[in-house]
């Protein structure tokens, strides 16, 4: 299928999600259940996308696991997005270099 058609479908969907509430909805949502689901969607979605995919995101599962552990530890200590992401990359790199000499 045409790649541009895919991109257009993706972009239009994303735009409508952002645009419709901002232009049409005048009153706030009242359903507590719906509000709760929406509240938990980011966490649920990002987690589902990370686990287990992160373990196959690098050249090998060992370096990916090392990066994963460091990222979780740094995030637990409240480090920012860029710090956590860059540290994970550095750890993956170092782990893979170390493994070459083992």
């Amino acid at each position: 299928m045409n790649i541009y058609a895919y991109i257009a479908a993706m972009a239009i969907t994303t735009y409508l999600i952002r645009m419709l509430p901002l232009t049409l909805v005048q009153k706030p949502i009242r359903s507590r259940f719906l509000l709760s689901v929406l509240h938990y969607v980011p966490c649920a979605c990002l987690t589902a996308m990370t686990i287990p995919a992160i373990f196959s995101s690098t050249a090998g599962i060992v370096s990916a696991a090392a990066g994963f552990i460091v990222a979780v530890l740094l995030a637990l200590r409240g480090k920012g997005l860029v710090t956590v992401a860059v540290s994970a990359c550095v750890v993956v790199f170092l782990t893979e270099q170390l493994m070459l000499y083992l």
Binding site: I3, A9, P21, L38, H39, A44, A88, E96
Partner: protein, 244 residues
């Protein structure tokens, strides 16, 4: 919103928006750099990667989207994936609709909606008083530039980078996701359990025979809904307005 706060709106100029968007721009550049690399690794051209970033401006959605696209999935699946993953933006846009200058014309709202990302939303809501149209334009412009330029740079550089560097950068986006999820899970009991449910659901869907035949897009949708609904039933939130 009390009346004293609304007076500050005048200081929120286009230039101030550009300035406030700068840190987001820098952060986006580094993250989208790895998105560009991912695209090239998956066989897309730098131009296509740039177009995706410029037209979508959403990390998680694009990330899942390219995988769904390359799995030659149906349009329905692609649209559904975006709907579920990006549904949080609906809540943010809803909150933002209370924050922008009252009576803002529809054509301005149409433009403001384009790049209402997690970070831009957070910065916009952080201001005191109502946020005017031109401030929002500035606040969105620098991050859109950073997001697109980073993607192009990553995609172009990908071919020049040695394999070990590309491997290391492959984990960057996941690192960012972890940095978003962990603090929320640490702070909120409900979010903690949602993360646990999401891990369980996602692992089940990828490891259990038959379930693992479901395409990646739907696996993410199902795991997200299962975890978010379970969280909503067990730990309903009091009032989420303005904190999405």
């Amino acid at each position: 919103m009390d009346k004293a706060e609304t007076n500050n709106s005048n200081s929120l100029s286009f230039a101030q928006g550009l300035r406030d968007g700068l840190p987001i721009c820098v952060g986006y550049f580094s993250v989208s750099f790895s998105f560009g690399i991912l695209c090239v690794n998956l066989g897309l051209s730098p131009f296509i990667a740039g177009i995706i970033s410029l037209t979508n401006v959403t990390s998680a959605g694009q990330f899942a989207g390219v995988r769904v696209m390359l799995a030659e999935a149906t349009f329905m699946e692609l649209i559904l994936t975006q709907l579920i993953i990006n549904s949080r933006y609906a809540l943010m846009s809803l909150s933002l609709s209370q924050k922008i200058t009252p009576g803002m014309p529809v054509w301005q709202r149409l433009l403001v909606a384009f790049a209402n990302t997690d970070e831009i939303f957070a910065v916009a809501m952080h201001n005191k008083g109502y946020v005017p149209f031109l401030y929002m334009m500035g606040l969105e412009l620098t991050p859109i530039f950073g997001w697109t330029a980073g993607t192009l740079a990553g995609a172009v550089a990908s071919g020049l980078l040695p394999e070990n560097i590309r491997s290391a950068l492959g984990i960057a986006l996941y690192g960012m996701f972890i940095a978003i999820v962990i603090p929320a899970a640490k702070e909120e009991k409900g979010a903690f359990w949602v993360v646990v449910f999401a891990i369980a659901a996602s692992l089940s869907l990828t490891c259990v025979p038959y379930l693992n035949r479901i395409s990646p897009g739907f696996q993410i949708i199902i795991a997200t809904l299962v975890a978010a609904v379970a969280g909503a039933v067990l730990f309903p939130v009091e009032n989420t307005e303005g904190e999405a």
